[in-house]
C-alpha cells in the first residue's frame, strides 16, 4: 500500500493486481503487473515518485523486477535478472529514479547490480570501500536519485554518489542488525541549485525506538522515537517516509517532520548571528520599539551592500517557518528592509512567499490537514495541491485559492466548480429542480464549464431528469444533442440541434428520431420544428418522393404538391403517366385555389391531347415541346392550318404569331411567302423583324423590300443592321436624332472615316443648340 502523488491510495495484491482508490476509499481503477506476478506472487514492492508521476516496482517470486514508470499510464516493463539469484531473494534492493525511466539497484550478498528496463545489468563497485562485508543488507537512494547509501551486515554504512564514483564517507554503527528503514534526508531543491554542501544531506537509519542521523562527514545525531507498546506489534513502530526536503515520521499518535534547519533560518536565529538576515531582523525589531538602533543595524547592512541578501533571507526564512507568528515577524522584517531596496525580483519573491504562506497555512489547518512545507509546495505545484483539495472535496478552499491566485478560469475556478457540480449531482437527497438551479446559480459566472460532463455524471448516478435539466445550460450543441439522444430524449435533442443552426446535427437528430419512433409520432414531432421539417423535406426530395407528397398533402401545402406532380409529369416519358400526373397537379391547384395554376394545367392537358393528335396525323414527334415550339414545328413543316387552329384555340398573342410566322418562313426559305405575309396585314411588331430574319437566314437581297416599311424611328438601326452605314448616316443627319447619330457613329469604325466626320459634325451641331 502506498500513496501516489495525486493522493490516491495504491494497493498491490499478491497476484499482481494493482488497485487504486481515492482519498475517500472509493475504487478508481485497477491494472495488473502481468503474468509473472500472477503466477509467482509479488514478494516485495516499492512505490516511488519519478518525473513522470508515481512509479511502482514489484519483485516477483522469481526475484524478477517489474517496473511501471507511471501508474496513471501503466506499462509494465521487465528488468534484467540479477545474476546469481536463484533461490534466495536479493539481500537488499531499491529504486533509482531517473529522468525518463527508472532503474533498480539490487544487491546479491556483496555484489551490487544496476538493472535497467533495456535488460542490461551492470555490476557496481562502491569506490573506496574499506570494510569487507559479506552482504549489503539495506540500501537507500535519495529522492532526487543523486546519492546512495549501502548498509552492510558489519554495521558499516557506505555513503556516496549514486553512480558509485564518489564516496562521501564510511560510518560504522557497530550494529549488524538490519535497520527497519534506511532513508535519505536531504534538501533536494537547494542541492540542485547550489554546490553540494555537507549540511544538506544526511542518511537516516531507523531501528525500533532509535533514529540515527549520519552526515556525509561522519557527524551524527541520535534521536529516540516514541513508540506505543500497547499497540499490537507491527503497528507500534513508526513509519518513515522520505520527502523531498526531509523525512516524515509517522507514529500512531504523531506526525513529525525531520529536516535540516534551512540556512536562512539558521542564519537569523543562530545565537549571536551576525548574518545579514539576523541584522535585518534585529533592525526591524528595534524599529518597532522606536529605537535608534534600528538605524545602526540598517546602516551596517547598507554599507556592506547586504540589504538585498538580508531581505531575501528573511523572506525565505519566513517561508520555511511553520508558525504564523514567526512568519509574520520575519515577513515584517523583510518588508521593512525591502522599502530600502527597490528590486522587482525581491518584490516578486516577497509577494509569492506571502501568497504561498497564506495557502500553506490554510491547508495546514487541522480541518484540512495537509501538512506541507514551502519547498514541497513548490515541488508539488499549486495545481497539484488544488487537485488534492478537489479530490478531498474541499471545493470551497480550492475555489478561494484559485480566485486568490487569479488562476485562469478554465484551469482554475471553473474546473473546481464543475468538479463540485459533478459531486453535487451524485447527492441524491436534493430534488432535481433545486439541484439544477443551485448548480446553474453557482456556475453561471464561470466560463468554460462543461455541463455535458456534469450531466453525464448525473446519468451515471441514475438521475436522468437532473441531467436533462443540466443539459439546458450546455452551450456546445453537439455535446448537448449527443447526450440528449443517449438519454432517449430525441424530440428535445432535435429541438436543440435545430437551435444550434448546425444542420448536420439536425439531420442526425432527425435520423435517430425516425429510428426510435413510429411514423406518426415522428411526423408530429418533426412538424413542430419548421427548420427540421424543411430539412426533412429536402432529404425526401432527394430520396423519397412519395413521402414528400404525403407530407405536402398532410400539411395542405397544395401548391408544393402540385409542383411535385408537375415534376413527375416532366420526368416520365409515357403519355398516360404524364396525363395522370397533370390531373393530380390540376387537382392540387384547384384545392389551393390557384386560378393561374389551374388554367395553365388545363391548357397543358389540352396541349398534350392536341400534340398526341398531331403525332397520329403526322409522324413528327411533339414530345416536350412548348406551345411556342409546337406552333413553330407545325409552321416549318407546312401545316399552317393546324397552327392556325392552335392559335385560335389558345388565343395566341398576335405579336407572337407574327414573330413565329416570320421566323418560320425565313427559316424554310420561303421568302416569297414572307413578302406576301408582310403585305397581308399591318404588322403588329413593325417591319424590323423581317429584315433581321432575312439577314439571319442569309437573304440580304430580300431586305430592300422591307426597308421602306420600317417605321421612321427604327429605320436608322435597320439600315445599320444591314450594314448600310452611308444611308443610315444620311438619314440620321437628316432627322437630327441624337440617339441615332450616336449609334451610327459607333458603327462607323475605321473604314467609314468620312461618314464618321459628317456624323460628328451633325452631333456637335445638335449639342450646341
Amino acid at each position: 500500500m502506498a500513496w501516489t502523488h495525486n493522493d490516491d491510495l495504491l494497493c498491490l495484491q499478491e497476484d499482481g493486481q494493482v488497485l487504486i482508490y481515492n482519498v475517500f476509499g472509493q475504487f478508481q481503477r485497477s491494472f495488473t503487473m502481468g503474468k509473472d506476478c500472477r503466477d509467482n506472487k509479488v514478494m516485495e514492492f516499492e512505490v516511488f515518485i519519478g518525473q513522470q508521476g508515481t512509479g511502482l516496482v514489484a519483485m516477483s517470486g522469481l526475484f524478477r523486477f517489474l517496473l511501471v514508470n507511471n501508474v496513471d499510464d501503466p506499462k509494465v516493463r521487465i528488468l534484467a535478472d540479477v545474476p546469481g539469484l536463484k533461490t534466495t531473494p536479493p539481500s537488499s534492493w531499491c529504486v533509482l529514479p531517473g529522468s525518463r525511466t527508472s532503474k533498480v539497484l539490487a544487491a546479491n550478498d556483496n555484489d551490487v547490480y544496476l538493472l535497467d528496463q533495456g535488460g542490461h545489468c551492470s555490476q557496481q563497485i562502491p569506490t573506496g570501500l574499506t570494510a569487507n562485508p559479506s552482504s549489503y543488507i539495506s540500501m537507500a537512494v535519495s529522492v532526487d536519485g543523486k546519492h546512495v547509501a549501502l548498509y552492510m551486515n558489519t554495521g558499516t554504512i557506505w555513503i556516496g554518489s549514486s553512480d558509485f564514483q564518489e564516496k562521501y564517507c564510511e560510518f560504522n554503527t557497530n550494529d549488524g542488525r538490519r535497520p527497519k528503514q534506511l532513508l535519505w534526508c536531504c534538501d533536494s531543491i537547494t542541492s540542485n541549485t547550489r554546490r553540494l554542501s555537507d549540511r544538506d544531506i544526511a542518511i537516516v537509519v531507523y531501528w525500533p525506538k532509535t533514529l540515527l542521523v549520519v552526515g556525509p562527514k561522519k557527524d551524527w545525531v541520535r534521536y529516540s522515537v516514541e513508540e506505543d507498546l500497547n499497540v499490537p506489534s507491527g503497528m507500534a513502530s513508526a513509519v518513515l517516509s522520505a520527502d523531498m526536503d526531509g523525512i516524515r515520521i509517522v507514529t500512531v499518535n504523531r506526525h513529525d517532520f525531520l529536516q535540516h534547519v534551512p540556512n536562512a533560518v539558521e542564519g537569523i536565529f543562530k545565537v549571536g548571528s551576525m548574518a545579514p538576515g539576523a541584522l535585518l531582523n534585529d533592525a526591524a525589531k528595534e524599529y518597532n520599539h522606536q529605537s535608534e538602533k534600528a538605524d545602526e543595524y540598517l546602516r551596517m547592512l547598507l554599507d556592506n551592500g547586504q540589504l538585498p541578501e538580508a531581505v531575501e533571507k528573511c523572506t525565505l526564512a519566513a517561508a520555511a517557518e511553520f508558525q504564523p507568528r514567526i512568519q509574520k515577524l520575519l515577513l515584517s522584517a523583510a518588508s521593512f528592509g525591502k522599502s530600502f531596496v527597490p528590486s522587482i525580483k525581491l518584490t516578486d519573491l516577497f509577494v509569492n512567499t506571502c501568497q504561498n504562506l497564506r495557502i500553506l497555512n490554510a491547508v495546514r489547518d487541522f480541518n484540512i490537514g495537509i501538512a506541507l512545507t514551502a519547498a514541497q509546495l513548490q515541488h508539488l505545484t499549486i495545481n497539484c495541491l488544488i487537485d488534492r483539495l478537489v479530490s478531498r472535496r474541499e471545493f470551497q478552499l480550492a475555489f478561494h485559492i484559485c480566485k486568490y491566485l487569479k488562476i485562469p478560469e478554465d484551469q482554475g475556478s471553473s474546473r473546481i466548480l464543475s468538479h463540485w457540480a459533478c459531486y453535487k449531482v451524485q447527492q441524491s437527497n436534493v430534488d432535481d429542480t433545486s439541484n439544477a438551479r443551485a448548480i446553474r446559480d453557482k456556475l453561471q459566472s464561470a466560463r468554460g464549464v462543461s455541463y455535458a460532463d456534469i450531466a453525464e455524471k448525473a446519468v451515471e448516478s441514475g438521475r436522468k431528469d437532473l441531467a436533462i435539466k443540466l443539459l439546458e445550460f450546455e452551450p456546445r450543441a453537439a455535446e448537448q444533442v449527443r447526450l440528449l439522444s443517449k438519454l432517449g430524449k430525441h424530440t428535445l435533442a432535435l429541438e436543440k440541434a435545430v437551435m444550434s443552426g448546425n444542420t448536420d446535427l439536425a439531420y442526425s437528430a432527425i435520423a435517430r428520431l425516425r429510428e426510435r419512433t413510429n411514423l406518426s409520432e415522428f411526423l408530429v414531432a418533426i412538424r413542430q420544428q419548421p427548420i427540421a421539417y424543411k430539412l426533412y423535406l429536402k432529404s425526401c426530395r432527394e430520396q423519397n418522393e412519395q413521402m414528400l407528397k404525403d407530407l405536402h398533402e398532410q400539411e395542405d401545402n397544395f401548391i408544393e404538391l402540385a409542383h411535385c406532380h408537375i415534376h413527375d409529369s416532366c420526368s416520365t416519358f409515357r403519355p398516360e403517366d404524364r396525363v395522370m400526373s397533370l390531373h393530380a397537379a390540376l387537382d392540387s391547384f384547384s384545392k389551393a385555389r390557384d386560378d393561374f395554376g389551374v388554367k395553365a394545367t388545363e391548357e397543358q392537358l389540352q396541349l398534350l391531347r392536341d400534340q398526341t393528335n398531331f403525332e397520329q396525323q403526322t409522324d413528327h414527334s411533339f414530345a416536350e415541346l412548348s406551345m411556342h415550339d409546337t406552333i413553330h414545328e407545325l409552321l416549318i413543316t407546312n401545316q399552317l392550318k393546324k397552327a392556325e387552329q392552335l392559335r385560335k384555340q389558345y388565343k395566341v398573342n398576335d405579336k407572337r404569331w407574327w414573330w413565329l410566322r416570320i421566323q418560320s418562313l425565313a427559316e424554310i426559305g420561303s421568302f416569297n411567302e414572307l413578302e406576301s405575309f408582310s403585305k397581308s396585314k399591318k404588322s403588329p411588331i413593325g417591319y424590323l423583324p423581317f429584315i433581321e430574319m432575312c439577314m439571319k437566314y442569309n437573304a440580304p437581297g430580300e431586305v430592300p423590300k422591307y426597308i421602306s416599311k420600317v417605321s421612321q424611328e427604327k429605320r436608322v438601326s435597320a439600315l445599320l443592321k444591314v450594314g448600310n452605314v452611308k444611308a443610315a448616316a444620311d438619314l440620321a443627319i437628316q432627322t437630327r436624332n441624337l440617339v441615332d447619330l450616336d449609334m451610327t457613329l459607333k458603327r462607323c469604325g475605321v473604314e467609314h472615316r468620312e461618314i464618321a466626320e459628317q456624323v460628328k459634325g451633325a452631333l456637335m451641331q445638335l449639342q450646341r443648340r
Binding site: E409, S500, Y507, K534, L537, H567, R747
Partner: protein, 601 residues
C-alpha cells in the same frame, strides 16, 4: 512554409494568413496517410485547391497521382493510399463506393488504404450513405477538411459555396448559414473578434444569432488583442436583388458576365489568342487566364468601367513602347546593363498587355451587339423607374423570339423589382407568355422566383422609387473614366448593397432608418460582440495615422458580384479612413443566379 501567393497579403488585412492556415490543415491531413498516395478529386474542387496548394507541394507530401472522381474504375497505380477529396454530396458517395468496390475486386498492387476527406464539412447524411453502400468499413480515415473560406484575392474571401442562395431561399435549408457563421468565426480567429456587427436582409439576424452561439460554445477567448477588422456588415442577397440583375459594366464584371470567372480563372475562345501561341494544337483548347492582382495590369483594369479600359490599354501600350525605346537612348555600358535588367519585367508586361488587349477586343465585340445595347437601355429605363408598369416591348420581342430564358427572366425580374411588383394583369400576361414559350414545367421556375422575391405581385412595403431617391442609386452624368461615385460600375446605377456600406461608414445608418424599413428583411444595427474596444471610445479625434482607418468586412450571404467588389474597392481607394474587405458565400452574377432557379430536367 513559405507562401507562394504574395498578392494575397497586400491588402489592409493579410488574407494570406487564411491561405496559410488552410495549407497547414491540408498537409496535416495528408500526413495522416503516410506513404505514397493518389488523390481522387471531386471535379468541382480541383480548381479551388489550386488556390491553396500547388501540385509541387502536394508532391512533397508523396502525392503521386491525381484522378478526377468518376463512377468507373480508377486508373491503375501502385500507391499505398487512395484519398477521395469530395464535397458532402450524396451522389458523389455513390461514385466513391463504386471506385472502392472496383478497386478491391481488382488485382491491384497489393492492399490499398482508402480515405475520404470531406470539404468543407463531414455530413452525417453522406457518412450514412457510405455505410448503406457498405464501404464505410473499408475507409481508414474519414476526415473533415474545414476549408471555410478561400482567399481569392487580397480583399476578397469566398466560401465557394455556390448553392447558398438556392439552399437558403428555395429549400430553406440553413446549412449555408451555419457554414457562413463558421467562416466568419475562422476569420475572427485569425484577425480577432470583430467588435461591431451590422446587417441587412433575411438571414442577417439569424447569422448574428449563430455567431453569438458559436462564441458561447468556444467560451472566453483572449480579449486583449485588438481586432484588425472593426466592423462586420452582413448583407443578405435578398435585400439587394437589383444589383445582380443589372448588367455589370466593369472590366472584370463583363468578363464574368460573358465568359464566367471561376476560382479567379476565366476561359476565352482560343482563336483570338492563337496568333500569340505558335503551337497549333493549343489553339483548339480554351485559353485560360488567371485574373488576380498578381497581374499588375489587370489590377489596374479590373475595376474600370469598360469604356475606360480602351484608353487605359492605350496608355499602357505607350509606356511600354517608350520603355523599349529607351534602349536607343542607352549609350554607356552601365545604361545598357540597366536596360537589360528591366527586360524580363518588360517582356512580362508586354505579354500581359497582349492578353488584355485581346480580351478587351472580345468584350468590345460583345458590347457593340445590338442585343446587348438594347438590353442595357431597357435596364437603364427600369432603373430610372421609366415604363416599369407596362408590358415591355423588348421583353415581349425576346419572348416571342424564344431568346434564352435567363436573359428574359433577368430583365423581367428587374422590371418587377423596380416596379415594386407587377399588377395582376401584367403579371399573368408575362407568366402565361413564358409558359407558352418555354413550356409548362416553368411553372416551377416561376414559383421559385416568387419564393425568393425576384418576381411578385404588387404590394408590400418595398418601394423602389423611394429607395432610389433617398439612397441616390441613380447618378446622372457619370464620368466613366474618372469616376466620382460608385455608380460608375453600372454606368449610372450605384449598387444598393455598397451604398448601404458607404452610408454606414458615413454618416451612419441612423440617417436612413426609414429606408432600411422598406428594404426587405430585418436590420441588425451595431450589435456588439465581445468586449468593446478602446479604439471606439478614445480615437474619434485622433484619426490621423494611416493604420487607424476603419476596416469593414462586408459579408454577402448568397453571393457578391464583381461590380459590387469594384465599387467597394473604389470606396477603399478614397482614403477617407474607411477600408473594406469582402467575404461571401460565392461570387455571382445575374445569369448564374437565375440559372440556378430555372427548372430543368
Amino acid at each position: 512554409m513559405t507562401s507562394s501567393a504574395p498578392h494575397l497579403s497586400t491588402g489592409c488585412v493579410n488574407l494570406g494568413l487564411i491561405r496559410d492556415d488552410s495549407r497547414k490543415e491540408l498537409l496535416r491531413l495528408l500526413d495522416k496517410c503516410a506513404g505514397t498516395k493518389a488523390l481522387v478529386w471531386d471535379p468541382e474542387l480541383t480548381e479551388q485547391f489550386g488556390l491553396i496548394a500547388e501540385y509541387s507541394l502536394l508532391k512533397e507530401y508523396e502525392v503521386d497521382r491525381m484522378f478526377p472522381l468518376r463512377p468507373t474504375r480508377l486508373p491503375k497505380s501502385n500507391v499505398q493510399h487512395i484519398v477521395f477529396v469530395t464535397r458532402p454530396v450524396a451522389s458523389l458517395m455513390d461514385q466513391i463506393a463504386v471506385n472502392i468496390k472496383k478497386e478491391e475486386e481488382g488485382d491491384g498492387f497489393g492492399r490499398k488504404e482508402f480515405h475520404v476527406f470531406f470539404v468543407p464539412w463531414k455530413s452525417f447524411l453522406c457518412v450514412q450513405k457510405l455505410e448503406e453502400l457498405g464501404v464505410y468499413g473499408a475507409l481508414t480515415n474519414v476526415e473533415e477538411y474545414k476549408l471555410d473560406v478561400i482567399a481569392l484575392d487580397s480583399d476578397i474571401l469566398s466560401m465557394e459555396h455556390h448553392s447558398a442562395f438556392y439552399d437558403i431561399n428555395i429549400d430553406e435549408d440553413m446549412t449555408s448559414l451555419y457554414l457562413a457563421a463558421k467562416a466568419i468565426m475562422s476569420i475572427q480567429k485569425q484577425f480577432g473578434t470583430i467588435p461591431l456587427v451590422y446587417g441587412k436582409g433575411k438571414c442577417s439576424k439569424n447569422l448574428c444569432g449563430l455567431l453569438r452561439k458559436m462564441q458561447e460554445e468556444i467560451g472566453e477567448v483572449a480579449e486583449d488583442e485588438q481586432s484588425q477588422i472593426d466592423r462586420l456588415i452582413i448583407i443578405d442577397r435578398t435585400a439587394d436583388l437589383i444589383t445582380p440583375l443589372a448588367s455589370q459594366l466593369t472590366y472584370e464584371g463583363l468578363i464574368d458576365e460573358i465568359y464566367g470567372i471561376t476560382n479567379t480563372t476565366a476561359s476565352f475562345p482560343p482563336d483570338k489568342f492563337s496568333k500569340a501561341s505558335k503551337s497549333e494544337d493549343l489553339a483548339t483548347e480554351k485559353k485560360k487566364v488567371v485574373l488576380t492582382s498578381k497581374d499588375e495590369l489587370f489590377s489596374q483594369l479590373r475595376n474600370c468601367n469598360f469604356n475606360a479600359v480602351g484608353p487605359n490599354l492605350k496608355k499602357q501600350a505607350r509606356t511600354i513602347s517608350e520603355k523599349f525605346e529607351e534602349r536607343h537612348a542607352a549609350k554607356t555600358v552601365g545604361e545598357m546593363k540597366q536596360f537589360v535588367s528591366h527586360l524580363p519585367q518588360m517582356q512580362q508586361a508586354k505579354a500581359a498587355l497582349a492578353i488584355h488587349t485581346n480580351i478587351a477586343e472580345l468584350i468590345k465585340e460583345y458590347t457593340e451587339e445590338s442585343d446587348f445595347l438594347e438590353t442595357l437601355s431597357v435596364e437603364q429605363e427600369f432603373l430610372n423607374g421609366i415604363g416599369t408598369d407596362k408590358i415591355n416591348p423588348f421583353i415581349e420581342d425576346c419572348l416571342f423570339q424564344k431568346r434564352p430564358i435567363v436573359q428574359v427572366l433577368r430583365l423581367l425580374c428587374l422590371q418587377c423589382i423596380t416596379n415594386n411588383g407587377f399588377k395582376p394583369k401584367v403579371y399573368d400576361y408575362y407568366k402565361r407568355e413564358i409558359l407558352q414559350t418555354y413550356g409548362y414545367k416553368h411553372l416551377i421556375t416561376l414559383s421559385k422566383l416568387e419564393k425568393c422575391g425576384l418576381l411578385r405581385p404588387m404590394g408590400g412595403p418595398w418601394n423602389y422609387n423611394t429607395v432610389r431617391k433617398s439612397l441616390r442609386l441613380i447618378v446622372e452624368d457619370i464620368n466613366e473614366k474618372e469616376p466620382q461615385d460608385i455608380a460608375y460600375v453600372h454606368s449610372g446605377y450605384a449598387p444598393l448593397s455598397v451604398r448601404l456600406a458607404q452610408i454606414l461608414s458615413h454618416p451612419g445608418w441612423r440617417s436612413i432608418e426609414e429606408v432600411l424599413k422598406i428594404i426587405p428583411g430585418p436590420t441588425v444595427s451595431g450589435l456588439q460582440q465581445g468586449v468593446p474596444k478602446k479604439k471606439w471610445q478614445g480615437s474619434v479625434g485622433s484619426d490621423s495615422g494611416s493604420s487607424s482607418s476603419t476596416v469593414t468586412l462586408v459579408f454577402y450571404v448568397g453571393g457578391v458580384t464583381y461590380s459590387e467588389l469594384s465599387a467597394l474597392r473604389y470606396l477603399s481607394a478614397q482614403n477617407d479612413g474607411h477600408e473594406y474587405i469582402v467575404a461571401a458565400t460565392n461570387v455571382v452574377n445575374g445569369n448564374l443566379l437565375l440559372r440556378s432557379l430555372v427548372h430543368n430536367d
